[in-house]
Symmetry: C2
Subunit: 355 residues, 2 copies
């Protein structure tokens, strides 16, 4: 709250001194986003931009900033939260400060994150749905209306796992004891259920995290915390196509959209299990043809610093471009329902030194 108050206070002081208020923030365009090769994450560069109220548009942005800060302030005081969509609709009552689209209000929430050095979760703003689930022998405590509640993510949940809340920051979410040996993030719900049914987490000491497609911030944050606080190696198991490679990259290196909080979200030591182009060949997996869009995505990845600095990825991406085929993690079922847990994963995890 004090951080937000000081932003709004800054605008007030400028007005009070008879100045046209301005606000400075890092330039949020692609040219100011750098791949920090030392820490292997995306970060902002030094370019800065100044928002002035000299134009109608600029003044409107300033007004929106103040209204939004006020709304967040009110939520914090009342112990409430809201979806990003609700905030957009709330602005219907803000007259000249009304947002024209949800893209505008989402961007402003990110601007406030950058200027205040807080996180959207601190502002009590959340996405529509998270959908991620965790299954494995780890205790977690999560905030509810009735105070903190403790769950073991294996014993106190059904086989669907523990549903991850949107806010997994320390004051709302604690990670307790665990005897697990590693974390495995999994792209599809079908594979997540397969590993649970086959008893994989119990047998190998795995904590499974269902990514549910491109992972939400809370999912990536939770993986990061398991890695850092519990010292657990992180592995990522996805389909074998260019879009899944990007899912891995966002877990490991962060995403351009959230470059300002990569240090909170990215797990640079995360390792990719597969499905790789080599897997498609080695295991003779059923495949689908790459579409033109797929090929374009692979080409783009070859100039993406998250992949292009890494020999493993350059080889795999080029191999997939040449074979012109992709495959899914569930394609391993070609060899029966147990193949993935009896052969594929133990072999892969052994090679990686995790098992």
């Amino acid at each position: 709250m004090s951080s937000l108050t000081s932003i709004v206070g800054g605008i007030y002081d400028q007005l009070d001194a008879g100045d046209v208020p301005v606000m400075e923030l890092p330039l949020r365009s692609k040219k100011n986003i750098e791949f920090d090769t030392q820490h292997s994450v995306w970060t902002y560069g030094d370019l800065r931009t100044t928002r002035t109220s000299k134009t109608v548009q600029g003044a409107q942005m300033m007004l929106r900033t103040i209204y939004t800060a006020d709304f967040i302030n009110e939520m914090i005081r009342e112990g409430k939260s809201s979806t990003l969509r609700e905030m957009y609709y709330i602005s219907e009552g803000w007259e000249h400060a009304k947002f024209n689209s949800q893209d505008e209000s989402n961007l402003l929430a990110e601007d406030l994150e950058i200027v205040s050095r807080c996180m959207r979760e601190d502002f009590k703003l959340r996405p529509e749905e998270s959908g991620a689930h965790v299954y494995g022998n780890v205790d977690v405590s999560t905030m509810t209306k009735k105070g903190m509640k403790k769950f073991n993510c294996m014993d106190d949940v059904a086989e669907t796992g523990f549903a991850v809340p949107y806010n997994v920051e320390r004051e709302n979410f604690e990670i307790g004891g665990t005897d697990a040996k590693f974390v495995m993030a999994i792209e599809t719900g079908g594979m997540f259920a397969r590993l649970i049914e086959n008893g994989f987490p119990e047998r190998h000491g795995a904590i499974l995290v269902h990514l549910s497609g491109q992972p939400a911030r809370s999912t990536r944050r939770l993986i990061k915390r398991l890695n850092e606080e519990k010292g657990l190696p992180v592995t990522v198991f996805t389909d074998g196509d260019p879009w899944s490679f990007r899912i891995f990259a966002s877990v490991a290196y962060g995403a351009i959209k959230t470059a300002h909080i990569s240090e909170y979200l990215a797990t640079p030591t995360a390792q990719f299990i597969g499905i790789t182009a080599s897997d498609i060949l080695n295991y003779k997996l059923p495949t689908d043809k790459l579409s033109d869009k797929d090929i374009g995505a692979l080409t783009a990845e070859l100039s993406d610093p998250r992949f292009s600095n890494d020999e493993f990825w350059v080889n795999e991406i080029q191999a997939m471009k040449e074979m012109k085929e992709k495959s899914e993690q569930q394609a391993l079922a070609k060899y029966g329902l147990d193949f993935v847990t009896d052969s594929y994963l133990p072999e892969k995890l052994g090679d990686m030194g995790v098992l």
Copy 2:
């Protein structure tokens, strides 16, 4: 298992007698699907079709039927389950019986449901993801590897609610005690979270079910069971657009695709809360313009018996077509985060006689 065995046995006996085997099943095209106005659900008519092995294609279908029955048989014996996608990949090992696409294997699973009068869940086949969550004061017991586990869907869960498993049939899922007064099925995750945060279930004795878009079979089945076994009225709260009207219709009257099991899935007494075209006017909600696709969908609904026999729906659909606008349930946030629970829902539920 005996039901599947008798289907395969029938084919065997025909071969044994030197006949070219045939299989009879209800015609599954649109012309054999009728709206049963008495029970207000979709059902199959009397038209039947005969599948013969005289053609290569027919023989292949018969072979697939036998392989699939064998696979299901094996899963039941071993206490396993599989996703529909896994079954499709499993068929890679079936040589001539291999499916060409997942549509084919999904359809065959439905054919087997019809012929055997069992349900896909009995066959241990499940969709990729269910995603539905429940929040409210009701005890449920669900099957896990360690036996039946009991949860209270308010006290034993985080604020994300209880994740519904894919199989909510009696031997796997029991509904225990509840003091709830009604069930409310909700389209969006944002609104589901809003009602939980605002304490709506506790204050009004509601069991909330998050539909997560077009609801999965298990979600509809659970709603049906809560309605039937606990005598709870069911209400449905969605966005105000033609696609959301169809979500309501699939909860209340069933869907063409699952016409053979409408009696298990549909809750004909379910009532629609909104958002209606009248709500958009009465509450002056923020709107978006209807697209051409939206208008086409509304027009189609006027000849869909699930809507066209009902004066309420005919009026609402025509009103929306005339105003050419749609709205979302979260648009109620225009009046603040509490408006939906303090004003909108109590007014609506009072008018409907639920509160």
